[in-house]
């Protein structure tokens, strides 16, 4: 069941809280209220459906469009007859967006909710695996064989766990780890994506410091990618920031995760290869719009509470905020899909840059060579405390190996090694303060 409500924002925002709340919001923004994670797009529902709530601040028309596009995100796809390989597949990882993004939350590291990125294990992780490419499709429609099947096994490493896997092709060949690097990826929660997309590139680049010229031990690197139109853009979505826009991310998900081809523009029903597209531009654009107009949940506690002041203080003392930059501002785009996206002060706790995260998180896969194998985009932290509330499961980091926030911290290495070590040396009380604050985001 998808949880949606056309009226939530209509009533709550427009009729009851609308102008009053907007006024309060502006006042609070002036004192930097990190409670309002998504600025005017902040949502206030912390139930199991917290990540499915449309953003506050949408106009009536925008909200209506959001509700119309919601079912597209949950739609199960099937093979069709229109043309060769029409519809789902033949190779795939899942049959719908919602199959992995369960309740729009963090997926589990299980078959059907996650996928493997792979590469030849050449040290750089930038060469595709022959016959597979960079993403392993471990499912297929009836009558076809998946590229390979994967046996997943979690093994103890100290007090932590790490994934071991056996990849077997349909002809029985086991792809040895020495030859094929593999990196499990769980889907991240869909929070405030339209806001992240609207952070100006110059703001992100301001924090880039590839050579660590300021000698703070943090480099931060922007990922440059070509978007679907071949234009150089700054990558900001995905575990390694390899997608520049939500539109591109949506296209990639349809193509790679579901085996569904997409049209190249609104006037065409054909793909870049001039084949008939499996879905319409309207559907592609609709799913993109849906993800752009989701909200970001308010933190559980307000700014002036002890849990916030003490935890946030520790967060800064450990210099977590060097990469998990608390506050960002969106720019102004007259063509924004919803005007409320513009000029917002938001609290995502990310710099959208990739960082060296150390050997422990090096899976050997670099994805098209756009990053190093040990580099990961700083994941946003907003909504972190709702993870278990929404999905009744906790698995952090790219492959869900961390069973709680503390384990996620302990996996930090590379540029974050110093922060991790500071965390380890904290008193029990200080650790509790930090974790309590993170758990209420």
């Amino acid at each position: 069941m998808k949880i949606k409500s056309l009226i939530i924002v209509m009533l709550t925002l427009i009729a009851l809280l609308g102008s009053i709340f907007s006024g309060n919001l502006k006042a609070k923004r002036n004192i930097q209220d990190n409670h309002l994670a998504g600025g005017s797009m902040t949502t206030f529902n912390r139930s199991f459906s917290a990540f499915e709530i449309p953003a506050e601040g949408l106009s009536d028309e925008e909200l209506k469009h959001h509700m119309e596009t919601d079912p597209l995100f949950g739609r199960s796809h099937i093979p069709l007859n229109d043309h060769k390989n029409a519809g789902l597949g033949p190779l795939l990882n899942a049959n719908s967006c919602a199959a992995c993004h369960v309740l729009n939350g963090r997926g589990r590291p299980v078959h059907g909710e996650s996928l493997f990125r792979v590469s030849l294990n050449n040290g750089k992780g930038d060469e595709p695996v022959p016959g597979i490419g960079f993403q392993l499709q471990d499912r297929a429609i009836y009558g076809h064989e998946p590229e390979a099947t994967v046996v997943r096994k979690w093994i103890e490493e100290g007090n932590l766990v790490k994934l071991d896997s056996i990849i077997k092709t349909p002809d029985g060949e086991i792809l040895q780890k020495e030859k094929v690097a593999r990196s499990l990826r769980i889907p991240p929660p869909l929070i405030g994506l339209g806001l992240l997309e609207a952070i100006p590139e110059r703001d992100i680049l301001m924090n880039e410091d590839i050579e660590d010229k300021n000698n703070d031990g943090i480099s931060g690197k922007a990922v440059r990618v070509k978007d679907e139109n071949g234009i150089d853009r700054l990558g900001r979505f995905g575990w390694k920031a390899t997608s520049a826009s939500l539109h591109q991310q949506t296209v990639d998900a349809y193509n790679e995760d579901m085996g569904i081809t997409t049209p190249i523009d609104p006037q065409s029903n054909r793909t870049r290869e001039n084949d008939p597209a499996d879905i319409s531009w309207e559907e592609l654009d609709g799913v993109t719009y849906y993800s752009q107009t989701l909200g970001a949940p308010a933190s559980a506690n307000k700014l002036n509470t002890k849990i916030v002041s003490s935890g946030f203080k520790v967060f800064n003392q450990l210099r977590c905020a060097s990469c998990h930059i608390p506050k960002q501002n969106t720019g102004f785009n007259p063509k924004a899909v919803a005007s409320v996206i513009n000029n917002q002060e938001i609290w995502p706790y990310t710099d959208l840059l990739v960082h060296d995260m150390g050997q422990g998180l090096d899976d050997g896969v670099a994805e098209h060579g756009l990053t190093k194998t040990f580099e990961w985009r700083t994941p946003p932290l907003w909504g972190l405390g709702l993870t278990k509330r929404v999905n009744h499961y906790v698995g952090f980091l790219h492959d869900g190996r961390a069973r709680n926030i503390e384990e996620a911290i302990l996996w930090h290495g590379g540029e974050a090694e110093a922060s991790k070590n500071k965390y380890i040396s904290l008193s029990k009380n200080k650790k509790a303060q930090l974790l309590a604050w993170l758990n209420q985001l």
Binding site: M1, K2, I3, K4, S5, L6, I7, I8, M10, L11, T12, L16, N45, R46, S47, F48, S49, M67, D70, P71, S76, I78, P79, L80, N81, G87, L88, N95, A99, V102, L103, G112, R139, I141, Y142, G143, R389, N391, H392, Y393
Partner: protein, 328 residues
Amino acid sequence: MKKPLAIIAALAISSTVITGCGNGPNKKDISNAMVDSVVLPSYSKLVKASKDLNKDIQTLISNPTEISFEKAKKTWRSSRKAWEITETWAYGPAETLDFDPNLDDWPVSTNELSQTLDSKNDFTNSTFKKLDTTSRGFHGIEYVLFGRGNNSAEDLSPNELAYLKIAGDDLVNNSEGLFSSWSGIEGFGTIVVKSDPSNAILDILSGIEGCMAEVADGKLGAAFDTNDSGELESTFSGNTGNDIVSNLKGVKAAWEKSKLKTYSLNKNKSLSITLSKQIDDSIKLADKLPPRLNDQLNNDLTKDIVDKLRNVLNSAVETTVALTSEIS
């Protein structure tokens, strides 16, 4: 004597503050009732309904007559009630452990399913395992019983019978798994819902709101706004209208049997009475829907009922949102 009286008075006041009402149910009562009086009985009925359907399917397989064929179809329809009534509390394991798609994915992948059923190769467990959720569950069975032009039991092919045998067992397994996931001291009902009454209330209200919105905007809106019957569920059996009635009866069960209605009356009488009436009105309107909706998209009488039903449901969603802000 004054001191004990003062203490008693203080205790009484504090009790009222904690519960919100001296005599009414408190949050703990609601979370307990939701698990013990709503969810577990419903999933228990689902298990029974699945077993009943499977039993009639297995009878059809061993003795394919007109009587056994019609009985299996009839039981399929009745078993749908047991599932659709649970949509309001599909949060939790139904969603997060994939029981929902395994039991109720839609649309049916007719190409894949037909390919396996029309194949010269025998349909086996191995074949079934290769099928996606869109070829299993209630709707996979529905397609074979109602949707393949089998006018009599004699028309059912060996592969169709083999499919039904495996799919019937699979349906029972998933129903039992769902019931089990909520049950016992390690179950979702105890460790999540009962242990966190405040959030339980929020989830119940979100479930009520979500189910009504889905019926209004998703199940009915998508089809009637676009004149596309492909968006309607259960079209092979023509059971769409009945599915919707069951959805709304589930809303009523979550509202009343969880004691949330009584609790809410003490918080905001006006909104609670309004919501109760809207839920009842929606069920009355849904009862007027023809069970087979897919050929009624242009029928003025049906469209009128659908419009009225959607209006009531949208108003009920508004009421639920307002009530949520009052009591959570």
